[in-house]
């Protein structure tokens, strides 16, 4: 992920650290620092907050902010320590930012007017010596830069760079759009530019200094480590001191009391400019900062340090959100597991309590047992050959019928279980906002709905798989009878049996009555058990029953696992960050601390 530009950032930062004409931002280890910061940026770039849960929206914004601040400000600042101090004027719409810039520059560089919002594309004014750096340099790489004066109709996210001899070489002023008008992109620019400022000058008015938005932005600037100055403009004549006092009170209340403060009274504006005496102290302060290498580098270093300090809390906060997402992912997974586990348990119960011995299965069993075919499956040892032909004529039909009835019964039970489980999982996911997110997914509503319908039912190929699994299980039971079904010696002398029929008796005994002697109402209660016990003995019968049941369970479990994979895939396809991301973020924060 390291681009050539980043490489050069690391190198120049290392080289420029000691030799910077204006200032050295960091210690000698800034080559390391550059690398660590690039790593951090790549790290932050590498994941997305997919699930829309409370806090995710903020986290997404924070992620973008940190990433942009790294690209727009931290890395360029590290690379070129010697460029002028960038002062960004931010504030409410109609606060008079452009007017202030015009006055400071001494000519009309930014449009002013009564229509709100006035400024739509940001305007940067700097000394001609640095114009080229601002135009070509690494600052704000995401924005197109055009040399000014630009026509009034500048579209989109373009930064207009104006040159002015009126400004000292060490100072650049940036008139940013407002942060509270109806245009959302203005807010985005305002925050982006605020994050790139060495000094953020918040301009507000006497009418709006109590606006929630102003204080949110100040809070944000403070948290992000910016150096802040405030300008209270349009203070009405006469009542000035009361407003100013209240404003100062509020500043202190919000922990930005140490910020430099200026007041501009409400006056007549001529040629888009304020009377010079109104901005005298602002100009004095700014020029003072810019002209003194020491004071300017102090400001720059303070802000740079502040930004890096802010990463100490901001990145872990991001990591915490990542953890929340990971937890949600785990919760969704456990929803799936719980859904299928419940279905499996229900199936287990259904194959134990006799609910399978209903309808066709029961009818076929009665047919098989009642007509004497069951007894005919047992043969007395001698004279077996004599009646062979007689037997073969009818038995197979009933045996086959019972076998297929059992298979069909079991199949539909499993299919219904799988359907039910899938529905359960979808219902649970629907209740969960994160789950809904995954269900609806990133695609269009149509595709989402189709996918929900697909997930809500068992997968189409399940029927085939179940058929295979059930007949395989029946073969397994038959095999059990053949290998494990050693007849009691006392009986073996007298009676032999037809394995296929016996395997069905075992199946019926197992699924409909349970392995132990459970009394079930109805005439045939324990018939299979008693017959089998008489043939094989209790011990052997229990062993076979347990084996057959375990085998069935594992086969169904496997089928359900395959079904559950679909949900796992849905989660994976959503691209939720995993556990590693959080760990890596913590690691990157730690590395940053070490490198400083």
């Amino acid at each position: 992920m390291t681009t050539p530009a980043d490489q050069s950032a690391v190198q120049t930062a290392g080289a420029g650290a000691g030799t910077g004409k204006y200032t050295a931002v960091t210690s000698a280890s800034s080559a390391d620092l550059g690398r660590v910061l690039i790593e951090l940026r790549d790290q932050i770039d590498s994941f997305r907050f997919i699930l829309d849960v409370p806090g995710a929206e903020d986290a997404r914004a924070a992620q973008l902010e940190i990433r942009n601040q790294l690209d727009d400000y931290v890395l360029p600042r590290l690379r070129s320590a010697g460029v002028p101090m960038l002062v960004v004027l931010g504030g409410s719409t109609g606060a008079g930012k452009s007017t202030l810039v015009n006055t400071l520059v001494g000519e009309r560089v930014s449009a002013t007017g009564v229509l709100r919002p006035t400024t739509s594309s940001p305007i940067l004014v700097c000394h001609p010596d640095h114009a080229e750096w601002f135009l070509e340099g690494p600052l704000l790489p995401g924005m197109a830069k055009v040399p000014g004066p630009a026509p009034d109709a500048v579209v989109g996210d373009q930064l207009v760079i104006m040159q002015s001899e009126a400004l000292p070489a060490g100072l650049a002023l940036l008139d940013s759009p407002d942060f509270d008008s109806v245009f959302e992109d203005h807010y985005e620019f305002a925050t982006k530019l605020m994050a790139a400022a060495d000094l953020w000058l918040c301009v507000t008015t006497a009418a709006r200094y109590a606006d929630a938005q102003v204080w949110q932005m100040l809070q944000r600037a403070k948290e992000h480590g910016a150096t802040i100055g405030t300008v209270l403009s349009r203070v009405p004549q006469g009542a000035g001191s009361e407003v100013v006092e209240h404003f100062v009170e509020m500043l202190e209340e919000h922990g930005v009391g140490e910020a430099e403060r200026f007041t501009i009274p409400e006056t007549k504006i001529e040629a888009s400019r304020l009377p010079e005496e109104c901005v005298e102290d602002v100009r004095e302060w700014l020029v003072g900062l810019a002209d003194s290498d020491e004071r300017r580098s102090d400001v720059i270093r303070d802000t740079f340090g502040g930004v890096l300090d802010s990463f100490r809390t901001r990145v872990p906060e991001l990591a915490k959100q990542v953890e929340t997402q990971v937890e949600l992912r785990t919760a969704l997974r456990s929803d799936v597991e719980a859904g299928y586990a419940t279905a499996l348990a229900e199936l287990d119960e259904a194959t134990r309590n006799g609910s399978l011995l209903r309808g066709e299965v029961l009818a076929r069993w009665q047919d098989f047992a009642g007509t004497g075919d069951l007894v005919r499956a047992l043969h007395v040892q001698r004279g077996r050959a004599a009646r062979k032909s007689n037997r073969r004529r009818r038995t197979p039909t009933r045996v086959r019928a019972l076998k297929s009835a059992l298979r069909a019964g079991l199949e539909s039970l499993i299919l219904a279980g799988a359907d039910h489980a899938a529905e359960q999982v979808v219902t649970r996911w629907r209740e969960n906002p994160a789950g809904r997110e995954i269900l609806v997914g990133g695609q269009g509503a149509g595709a989402g709905a189709a996918r929900v319908t697909a997930l809500e039912h068992a997968s189409p190929e399940l029927a085939r798989r179940v058929t295979r699994a059930v007949s395989a299980w029946q073969d397994h039971v038959l095999e059990l009878i053949r290998t494990d079904g050693v007849t009691k010696r006392s009986v073996a002398k007298l009676v032999s049996f037809d394995e296929e029929a016996l395997s069905l008796v075992l199946t019926v005994g197992l699924l409909a009555y349970g392995t132990s002697d459970v009394a079930v109402e109805g005439g045939t209660s324990a018939v299979p058990q008693r017959l089998l016990k008489a043939l094989f003995g209790a011990e052997s019968l229990r062993g076979m029953g347990a084996k057959a049941r375990a085998d069935l369970r594992s086969r169904i479990g496997m089928l359900f696992d395959e079904e559950a994979i679909r949900f796992g895939q849905a989660i994976d396809a959503a691209g939720i960050p995993d556990e590693n991301t959080a760990v890596q973020l913590y690691q990157a924060t730690y590395n940053l601390e070490v490198a400083r």
Partner: protein, 567 residues
Amino acid sequence: MTTTATSAFQPSAHPSADGTSVSGRFEALEQLVELGAGRLDQELLDETATLLGRAGQRLRLSGEHTVVTLAGGTGSGKSSLFNAICGLELSPVGVRRPMTSQAHACVWGLDGAGPLLDWLDVDKRFRYARASALDGSGGRETGTGTDGSLQGLVLLDLPDHDSIRAAHRAEVDRFVTIADLLVWVVDPQKYADASLHRNYIVPYARHAGVTLVVLNQVDRLQPEEVEDCVSDLRRLLEAEGLHKPRIVTTSTVAEGGVTGIREVLVDAVTARRARTERLATDLGALVDRFAAFDGGHEPPAAVDDRRATALVDALTDAAGAPAVAEVMESAYELRAVDYVGWPIARTAARLRSDPLRKMRLTELRDELRGAFTGPVGAQQGDVDNALQGVTDEVVNGLPEPWARSVRAASRSHAASLPEALGISLKEALPAFNQVPRWWWLVKTWQYFLVLVTMIGLIWIGLLVFHGVFGADDATDGLVGDSGLIPYVAVLVACTFGMGALTSSACRNVVALSSAKHGERMEDHMRTRIRAVARERVLNPVSAELDVYARYRALLNGRAPRGDSRAL
């Protein structure tokens, strides 16, 4: 200074139209909530219930009064405007922000206003009354020349919605949901603020008819700038969906600066339509949200025949009806053998070596014979699968919640279906438990044949005995004449053969009749299963579809009652 001619507050051409529209919508919504309960989005139902409650309360309260709220950002001059309209310094004004933190109310004409103010929950300390008669003589606005009276106006000065005091916003939110006429106060500095437009103008865009935007502090602009500002504001509002926004410019410092808004207020108060219009819009918005759950075309009244037949087939399979019929046939035939079978052959079979006896499980045989307990239920899994696709065609084109409820209706009795199927099958059985009379005749005939055979055998025995022991007295020709032996033997052989023949012939007849019985029984079972399917699956589905149809009828019936398009 009114820049827009406001005609919407003029008395309507059909004064009663709005009243019926509100009550009509009110009733329709109540029914919609009833029909949608448990089916539609609970949030919408709750919201509707809340709003209906609120609308009901407002309708019961004074209709003579029009509640007007002055709301806006901090520092836009709401309180100054309030004072200017009232003509008195009632609400404190100042330069500190935010200034007003409690709603102030001023009432023109107190009759019946008390309960209304209580309902609005305005603090008693901040209620002021203006007698209408005094209105013209006091205050700063005497010279405006408004001949209309503000009698019936309840003017509320609200706190700001955008300052750092979050409680203010909650207060504003509360009032704007219950006010009759919404007045948004903006100033040239803040008119494009996102907090106003995003949080209030856009969500209340439908209420354009009862919304008024006031551009205050126009004295701060040059006269030529005012027009620019207003047109920019209008463009903004229209872009946000506010249909024909009404904008009034005011200034509390300039002479006659509030005439415009007074005129509008006088119109609104005189027309007394704001209340119903506001409620009608609120209710209309809700009706539209309910309309989102209308699929657009008439749903079928019931599951189509193909699906219904498929369902009955699937349920028949689930209950194992063919198998049950077969079993019953087997049982019938087995029982018939007891009657029509050749007793001698049966005895011989019983004497054969029996594996069960060898295993000392003889009692099992009887148990096995008793295995025919008849049908017990059906497979739950089969039943569930049978219900799976029943509603697929019906829900086609239905909005999601309704599709779900129809599907749920088809499964409402899924758990009790197996048992119901079992019971219905059992009811179809009795024919098989009867013993036809001819079986008894055959049985008698068979035993008669056995008797004859026995007699014949004994006869032969006697003949042989006489022949061997040479009893000479030939008095008894019947037992003495050994020449009779062949004849008697033939007789025995004949009866023996006849028994066997009778048996096999009767069994064939039985098999035939049992097959016929079986078929008839299957038909019976099918009929009964169809009844069960109708009662427990198809009817619930139809009932649910009917609910949806009524829901649609309610929604589409609204057009003649309340003309929502006009609002």
